[in-house]
Symmetry: C2
Subunit: 399 residues, 2 copies
């Protein structure tokens, strides 16, 4: 049981994590109805014009514009109604001089006609209609390429799909779309003291919390997550996980004692590389970051609060970069309701509950999950700050 030798700065740790994280290269095809929030892996060019045909922009009459020239209230032009076209239909005949067709918004303009007279400027008389106002060619007509021109690039590789962008894919008739795969995360709860929820718990054991907080957070933020059975924090068991996992991340949550953390660090060092082990961060000192083969390895602290706050500040930026998604943190100012004493030399993450613009510290101890569930977010206290006075302005990062 040896204490940490070297702690690296929090800012340095974040830099290393981003530097060592690559962007996802693998691509998969998904149904457009399941593609919201996914990142487009290809440029999308329109294969055809949209709408693809001239259509009426108004309910009215499809006419030959020149037929209406000179029409006014006192001397309307009379045109013979040759039929009616609804949206989705095609006129059975063309419009000839002196003729028109009743047309509904969205219906394709019949051959021969080149404008639509709004119903408001007409009067129906048997099989004829009186036109009270002339129209120019193209009036109240949407041209075939109004929305999208064939060949136009409508979406770009890297775009994050949202409802309107998925609408564009639908407009192009696409049912499937190529997106970047989600980073694949293997979660290994470690430690003999933990039991999976739903199972019987003996004296001296606690339920596994970290797998559930981490899985929930990472899935919500764009990763695909698999929770594995609990592993012993022994060399052989940890080696087996690393050798068997096929994914982008192998995350161990647990190893609360110094000895256990050393076992994990030894295994990662033996199989790959350790980028750091130990951060000047509170809570979160024992966090391990490394790489084995094609997977990044995180050894997260065992205490639930430490584990989850570390996931927000260290793990999430990496996952977001790999997923090619922006890291969005909602931040709002608040007034600190109570003095907080911090630890000089360690950057501190402090959960707070915000009520009516005031931030109340809710930290109990790093083992307490309730201190996080009651928190609306966290504040950060830099390593060189000894305490924050009651009443000082703080920037709350919302969960």
């Amino acid at each position: 049981m040896i204490p940490f030798k070297e702690l690296i700065d929090f800012e340095k740790a974040k830099e290393i994590i981003i530097e060592k994280t690559w962007e996802m290269k693998r691509v998969e095809e998904v149904d457009v109805t399941e593609a919201c929030g996914r990142v487009l892996a290809e440029d999308i060019k329109a294969g055809f014009d949209i709408p693809g045909f001239s259509r009426a922009a108004m309910d009215g009459y499809a006419v030959i514009a020149s037929d209406t020239f000179g029409a006014n209230q006192r001397n309307p032009v009379k045109l013979r109604i040759m039929g009616k076209i609804f949206a989705g239909e095609i006129a059975r005949r063309e419009v000839k001089k002196g003729e028109c067709m009743q047309i509904a918004t969205g219906a394709p303009l019949p051959e021969g006609s080149d404008a639509v007279v709004m119903v408001e400027n007409t009067s129906l008389e048997g099989e004829e209609v009186k036109i009270f106002k002339p129209v120019y060619p193209g009036a109240n007509v949407t041209p075939p390429d109004e929305d999208v021109k064939k060949g136009e690039m409508v979406l770009r590789k890297g775009d994050i799909l949202n409802p309107s962008k998925i609408g564009v894919l639908a407009a192009l008739g696409m049912r499937k779309v190529r997106v970047y795969e989600k980073p694949k995360v293997h979660l290994y709860p470690t430690g003999r003291e933990i039991v999976s929820p739903g199972e019987k718990k003996e004296y001296g054991k606690i339920y596994d919390i970290n797998s559930y907080t981490l899985a929930t957070l990472l899935k919500k933020e764009g990763a695909s997550v698999e929770i594995h059975p609990i592993v012993d924090d022994e060399k052989e068991a940890i080696e087996k996980c690393i050798d068997e996992a096929r994914g982008d991340y192998i995350i161990f949550s647990g190893g609360s004692s110094v000895g256990e953390r050393d076992i994990m660090a030894d295994v990662v060092k033996k199989r790959g590389e350790i980028f750091f082990h130990g951060i000047a961060l509170k809570p979160g000192k024992p966090t391990i970051f490394g790489r084995v083969g094609n997977a990044l390895i995180f050894g997260m602290p065992g205490y639930p609060t430490s584990c989850l706050t570390n996931a927000y500040v260290l793990l999430l930026p990496s996952i977001k970069k790999m997923a090619r998604l922006p890291l969005k943190v909602e931040r709002k100012e608040a007034m600190l309701a109570e003095k907080i004493v911090s630890t000089i030399g360690r950057h501190q993450i402090y959960p707070v509950r915000v009520e009516q613009g005031k931030a109340y510290p809710v930290f109990k101890e790093s083992g307490a999950i309730t201190s996080l569930s009651e928190a609306t977010g966290y504040i950060e206290i830099p390593a060189n700050v000894e305490y924050l006075e009651e009443g000082s302005q703080v920037l709350v990062n919302y969960f």
Copy 2:
């Protein structure tokens, strides 16, 4: 083909929608790993203390505190080491006067002992350890109910589950949790002019966009959505949809012409009640809102931009209320890059693209889906405003 008789105010329309929307009553049980973002349908009280046993908060030695009284650097107290306890283990014997046990963080305190001496304040000597600093009873020990006391209410009905709240459920050993059901939405694309994406499209037809933009938006915001096959905008077809749908919402997207909208309004009136038909809103004038049996009915405009912006401003507040979720719209100020002329008497929703703090109008025509896919959000222009000058401050609602 008759024009609208009475348009109601946009604000009034929003009021009616909220007033007529109820909160979800149905409850379902879901796996905790799938519960993120769901609304808790029950209070959660702790069935046991957490952690449930006294445990070491540090790596060190479990001792009887009184044995250490008087110890200092020059006169250390020597205790006999009777074994080693890791987290998850239980000591095989109790600690007696003059004895101690090596203990790892998180391990249950052995019977007889009442404190933990940190490893830093000790020195190992064969089977004995020298203690250089006294501890009080309870030092470096987490009591059995430190995190949660048995019977304590840890989560409340109505809480929205997030990673830390799901951590609390896991801590209580729960695999399943009772949440409110998601509002069930039946989407009916209507109109003979539309074709489902993936199918062959004939001249004069366009692909169905609205089902995909609406389904994506509503699923993302907490509804469960079923897209039905395209229905003819005829009385019998629409009646059949209303009679067969079993859900909280029946949404028709389409009916772009006045005639079609009247058919829909007639059916809703015949089977139930119409709350309004026609809003002084641009785009979105033709929107219908009513109720048939236990379902709210929305007749959304047929044009993609109109349909989706109306979904953001009218449909979403209703869905959110029913789902018991807060309606969160991210809003930021921007400077209008170009003058916008609006329509007096109609509240206008205008899509804009924000770049470097400037808002550029991106509206082409209400049929154009691309005007939305290029937009970062929309601004609202009240009914009594004729135009907005270039350079004026506008509040952008982000998609």
